[in-house]
């Protein structure tokens, strides 16, 4: 039944694309996020549905889309450079087979991010992609939220639709991504045109946001909690009634903390004392190894270069019995082939300093670009453009969540994050087209200084 449902939905989505080719783009985004081929077990698992959707999107764009006024932005150029560079490092990778396996999905994410801005020609398209991303992540987080409410979840215990600890179905990744989705859902609830911003849209957005906030609790991923704090601070910057916002946050925290499962608070406590926690200690050890590795391999070791690492460290656990009595327990741990657990070190180890620089440039340009748009349209926006500054703000917040969250999770090439990049480039290109299309007078009047104006007025009176 479920299999039939997913098959019918995908076919209907692709069928709608025959009438409006842009829907192929949305179909690919949906398939990339939800991965219906993983959720179902029949027909969809036997066909390359993702490849079919992408081919349709590309073909639809080439054949039926208006390509006038399209410009490749500097950010897309950086993305292209990153794509080429990653392709080159794959050819000389330390682990050619594993590197080729990762490259097989990385290039698709990068090419799609390059392609997305070319298709986002209208405001409705930008909104439609945002809505598709939010609803697709909703497929994962709504269930995750309900399960957390009913059972409390647990580290590595929360089962999200499929029992597959990869992609967005991995606890830490979905926790970080869920935080990034919150500002986008709020934007849709306030400025959407596909679903009018009435009480129903706001209620659903509130539900999605609550589910997203429950993800760090359910998965007990520390990354999610850190992202939630970052998001709260970022939202403080853009909220109008700051004192009310702080009050609501404090009240919410006071109500929520006693209700949180004790396993969650214990795990979050290890953020302060990483030496007691093996997972956190492994990360620090792998990061140190990566810095040393980059000294001898400045151009990186190619994808999956972490497989050659070997790290050892001591975990220190103190059991306090009161009255200055504490039992210190030290364990020496040796591990091999541990993943980076950080997008920054993932880039450094796999792509070296040039790759890390390109990746940082790509994302920092995004933060800057969104800030420019936000400031330009924040005060007195032209009629019909009141949605621009809030969207730029939401995209910036989502990206900051990603940039902070990716410090602790290896999501440098997570396709969802490149969709965010594509969306930002699309918004920026759209604003550029609108500005270019605005009528500019052939002869612009010079601003008349106030003194001269006063003088002219006096002469007229006399």
């Amino acid at each position: 039944m479920l299999d039939l449902f997913f098959t019918a939905f995908c076919l209907a989505f692709l069928g709608a694309g025959l009438k409006r080719p842009f829907l192929f783009v949305l179909a690919y985004a949906y398939i990339d996020i939800v991965a219906p081929q993983k959720v179902s077990w029949g027909f969809l698992t036997h066909i390359p549905i993702s490849l079919i959707a992408f081919s349709c999107a590309l073909l639809g764009w080439m054949v039926a889309e208006d390509k006038n006024g399209i410009r490749v932005s500097p950010r897309q150029f950086v993305l292209l450079l990153l794509l080429v560079y990653c392709g080159l490092t794959t050819r000389t990778a330390d682990f050619p087979v594993e590197a080729a396996a990762k490259w097989s999905w990385v290039w698709k994410a990068l090419v799609f991010a390059l392609f997305l801005p070319l298709t986002l020609r209208t405001r409705l398209r930008i909104e439609a992609l945002t809505l598709t991303m939010v609803l697709s992540v909703g497929v994962i987080v709504i269930g995750g939220g309900i399960k957390t409410l009913s059972s409390g979840g647990g580290y590595g215990e929360l089962r999200l639709l499929v029992n597959d600890n990869t992609g967005l179905y991995e606890g830490s990744i979905i926790s970080a991504v869920a935080m990034g989705i919150i500002p986008l859902a709020l934007w849709l609830a306030n400025h959407g045109t596909i679903f009018k911003p009435d009480w129903k849209a706001k209620l659903f957005a509130a539900g999605i946001c609550f589910s997203c906030l429950l993800m760090p609790v359910g998965t007990q991923a520390r990354t999610g909690l850190i992202c939630a704090v970052v998001l709260a601070v970022m939202m403080l910057r853009s909220t109008k009634r700051r004192m009310l916002y702080i009050g609501v946050l404090c009240a919410g925290a006071l109500v929520a903390v006693p209700l949180l499962p004790s396993s969650f608070t214990e795990r979050m406590g290890t953020i302060k004392n990483h030496q007691a926690d093996q997972s956190a200690s492994t990360r620090v050890a792998v990061w140190k190894w990566t810095i040393e590795f980059a000294k001898t391999h400045p151009f990186g070791g190619g994808f999956d270069a972490f497989r050659q690492n070997s790290v050892s460290y001591d975990t220190v656990k103190a059991d306090y019995a009161g009255d200055n009595n504490a039992a210190i327990e030290t364990d020496h741990i040796e591990e091999k082939g541990r993943a980076y657990h950080s997008a920054y070190f993932e880039m450094l180890g796999e792509q070296g300093y040039p790759g890390l620089a390109l990746w940082l440039l790509l994302h920092l340009m995004g933060v800057f670009q969104m800030e420019v748009i936000r400031r330009r349209y924040r005060n007195n926006p032209p009629e019909g453009f009141a949605w621009v500054a809030p969207l730029a703000d939401a995209l910036q917040q989502a990206q900051m969540c990603y940039l902070v969250g990716s410090t602790f999770v290896g999501i440098a090439f997570q396709p969802f994050c490149y969709m965010l990049v594509g969306l930002q480039c699309g918004l920026s290109a759209y604003i550029g087209r609108v500005r270019r299309a605005a009528p500019v007078p052939f002869v612009q009047r010079r601003p008349v200084p106030a003194q001269q104006q006063a003088g002219t007025a006096a002469m007229e009176i006399s």
């Binding site: 479920l2 449902f5 939905f9 209907a12 989505f13 709608a16 009438k19 409006r20 842009f22 829907l23 949305l26 949906y30 959720v39 208006d66 006038n68 020609r121 209208t122 405001r123 409705l124 398209r125 439609a128 809505l131 598709t132 609803l135 697709s136 909703g138 497929v139 994962i140 709504i142 269930g143 995750g144 309900i146 399960k147 009913s150 639709l161 596909i194 679903f195 659903f204 019909g384 453009f385 759209y430 087209r433 609108v434 299309a437």
Partner: protein, 57 residues
């Protein structure tokens, strides 16, 4: 049951979204941008009108 809710609710909304998008003209032509199809049609219409106005027509 939870899995069914998490699958059906967003999918129904996505189906609604697709239905609405198929019927929205501003999906392809943004009202804030100059319509690239209009001038072409307009130009053609003017030419036909001009043909009609010719004395030999």
């Amino acid at each position: 049951m939870i899995d069914k809710i998490t699958i059906f609710v967003p999918h129904i909304l996505m189906a609604l979204m697709i239905w609405k998008l198929v019927h929205r003209p501003d999906l392809d032509d943004d009202p804030a941008l100059p319509n690239r199809r209009q001038p072409l049609l307009g130009h053609r219409a003017t030419r036909f009108e001009a043909d009609d106005r010719r004395p030999d027509a």
